[in-house]
């Protein structure tokens, strides 16, 4: 009997110790996540070793992890070792070197190696950070005179218009395979809804003057936009199908509305007392309130993070800079050169436009670590990216 108990202890004591160690390691991860949320631009990347992958799979994993706050080091310096293979399919493991445990072990079948690698990257991010990754997300953008959709890294791009007209400001309808965008096809900047599954398009705003900068509410039921039909460009809101139009502002020099994730507020760029500022107005109308962006000037192109905590925007002080500010206003943090940021669905990474040699191209920025990767230029002048959410 006594002997039996000792035997049980022999089995359960190691289990108990492993569980304690694993819990401790997880606790450390949670602290990391907390820091990610509070310190933009100052976080250190998570060092990982990437072993055993080659070719396209290796480059996909590197791109996906780099823009989500990981750096690549030798096994000795790594906090996590990611190893595996991609001979006929992607398979791999993630080993936590501190906790000495395998936290992910998975293989992928179907589609192609590129998509398998993206799926593995998402599983790695989830296993290490507890956050949903962005590797299988989509973007839209404008290039030359058409609207495009693509994977978030610019691959598998496809024109969804063939109008040869000036286009602008594409935006996704949340959770739908559908876009809103501005097209000059009918001789005026008008806002259209485009169901990407069927190709059906509807005119949403075709008023006299400017109709642009559509932004869809998080529940998909309302559209905010800039119209000038009443004599100056201001913020308006209407139903998703264009009905029930309402003017929200009479401020001067309004541009680029975006929604708070709770659908209560619309943030936009404007000018008050001869100063260009960010401001917000209730989606049902009311007083315009200033959002302070201390430390930078000439803010435009705000985008509210899906978790509600941050507003990313462009500041112009000679050059364009990508900045973030707490959503209630405060000290702005300048991250990198660039313009027109759009948040990823997990509120960590930004896609934006970068100008080199007077040509626009897209780049992806991990806001906490400021790690940036350029997306290979797809056509001349790719710009105004918007992340599908």
């Amino acid at each position: 009997m006594k002997n039996n108990n000792l035997h049980l202890l022999k089995i359960y004591l190691p289990i108990f110790l492993v569980v304690i160690a694993a819990d401790f390691a997880r606790g450390q991860n949670e602290i990391n996540i907390e820091q990610n949320i509070t310190v933009m631009g100052l976080m250190k990347p998570v060092p990982v070793a990437l072993d055993g992958f080659s070719g396209e799979v290796a480059s996909v994993l590197k791109f996906d992890l780099y823009v989500q706050g990981f750096s690549f080091v030798s096994d000795d310096a790594a906090q996590y070792i990611i190893n595996g293979s991609n001979s006929d399919r992607v398979q791999g493991r993630v080993i936590d070197r501190f906790a000495k445990s395998t936290i992910l072990s998975r293989s992928y079948i179907g589609a192609n190696l590129r998509r398998q690698a993206h799926a593995f990257a998402d599983d790695i991010v989830l296993a290490i950070t507890g956050k949903k990754g962005i590797a299988q997300t989509k973007i839209t953008f404008k290039a030359r005179s058409e609207i495009y959709v693509a994977d978030f890294d610019g691959h598998n791009y496809q024109a969804v218009t063939h109008d040869s007209a000036i286009v602008a400001a594409p935006a996704w309808a949340p959770g739908k395979l559908a876009l809103y965008y501005t097209s000059y096809k009918l001789g005026n900047p008008d806002i259209f809804y485009h169901d990407l599954r069927t190709g059906q398009r509807q005119l949403i705003a075709g008023y006299s003057g400017l109709n642009t900068s559509a932004a869809v509410s998080p529940d998909g039921l309302k559209v905010a936009m800039i119209l000038s039909k009443d004599g100056s460009p201001n913020v308006y809101v209407c139903n998703a199908d264009g009905s029930d139009l309402k003017r929200l502002t009479t401020t001067s020099e309004d541009s680029s509305p975006c929604w708070s994730p709770d659908g209560q507020w619309i943030c936009f760029a404007t000018k008050i007392n001869e100063r260009r500022i960010l401001a917000k107005v209730s989606a049902s109308g009311g007083e315009v309130q200033r959002i302070s962006t201390a430390g930078v000037s000439n803010p435009t192109e705000p985008d509210w993070s899906p978790d509600g905590k941050w507003i990313a925007f462009t500041s112009q002080m000679g050059e364009f800079d990508i900045c973030v500010v707490p959503a209630d206003g405060g000290d702005a943090t300048t991250l990198v050169r660039g313009e027109d940021p759009s948040w990823s669905p997990n509120s960590r990474t930004l896609i934006f436009t970068r100008e080199t040699n007077y040509q626009h191209a897209l780049s992806v920025l991990d806001a906490p670590t400021k790690q940036v990767k350029d997306i290979p230029r797809i056509l001349e002048n790719d710009s105004q990216p918007a992340w599908a959410k």
């Binding site: 997880r26 445990s101 299988q136 989509k138 496809q158 005119l203 075709g206 003057g209 100056s232 541009s255």
Partner: protein, 212 residues
């Protein structure tokens, strides 16, 4: 299987992780006890949908999207919602870009204020329109490349509207005037210096004749 993982967040995910860690720990210890080493085989398999199958709503599959249908005014939905616009009155009019080409007006940087020196150009435009109400006017507002794209689209519109207002003061009925902003999309000078920018910050005037 993988999809379920993607959609679980935060607390649920942590609870899941804890469960999973316990399971893993147990499996690890049992395996170690039984064999003295642990396996390298992946424990889970994720099946990805085929290339042509749409996955989640925000994911498009490769090269399977149909092209957008032809755009036309007649496809306007929501009858009545466009009641305030008077664009229809301008439809089909013949654009004469030469008549007032010499009267283009230019603006200071990041401004829609019309300089006093542009007065003669505006008077010439007002005179050309004259009393013949069959003639109408299109004002095209443009910007230099400095400034963000959508900001410039609004700035170009403000420049066009400023000219419409100035013409109203000279007696031109604003309902005869249509505005369009091209933002920074239509520079006359593709250069990247002040001399190019100066030329690009402008309103072009297009005389509109009635359709034949």
């Amino acid at each position: 299987m993988g999809k379920i993982n993607f959609t679980n967040f935060n607390k649920r995910k942590i609870m899941k992780t804890t469960k999973w860690i316990y399971t893993l720990a147990f499996a690890l210890v049992v395996t170690l006890a039984a064999t003295g080493c642990h396996t390298h085989k992946p424990v889970g398999v994720t099946q990805l949908p085929g290339e042509s199958a749409p996955t989640v709503p925000d994911q498009t599959s490769q090269n399977t999207l149909p092209p957008g249908n032809q755009l036309s005014q007649s496809e306007q939905v929501q009858p009545g919602s466009l009641a305030t616009e008077n664009l229809a009155e301008f439809e089909g009019m013949i654009e004469d870009t030469n008549a007032l080409a010499a009267n283009t007006i230019h603006f200071p940087f990041d401004s829609s204020v019309i300089r006093k020196s542009e007065k003669t150009n505006l008077e010439a435009v007002a005179t050309a329109l004259g009393a013949d109400t069959n003639l109408k006017l299109l004002i095209e507002g443009n910007c230099d490349e400095r400034g963000t794209e959508e900001y410039n689209r609004a700035l170009g519109e403000r420049r066009a509207l400023a000219a419409r207002e100035a013409l109203a003061k000279l007696g031109v009925d604003p309902s005869r005037v249509r505005t369009i902003s091209y933002g920074e999309d239509r520079p006359v000078d593709p250069g990247h210096d002040e001399s190019a920018w100066q030329k690009n910050r402008r309103d072009d005037f297009v005389l509109l004749h009635p359709k034949m």
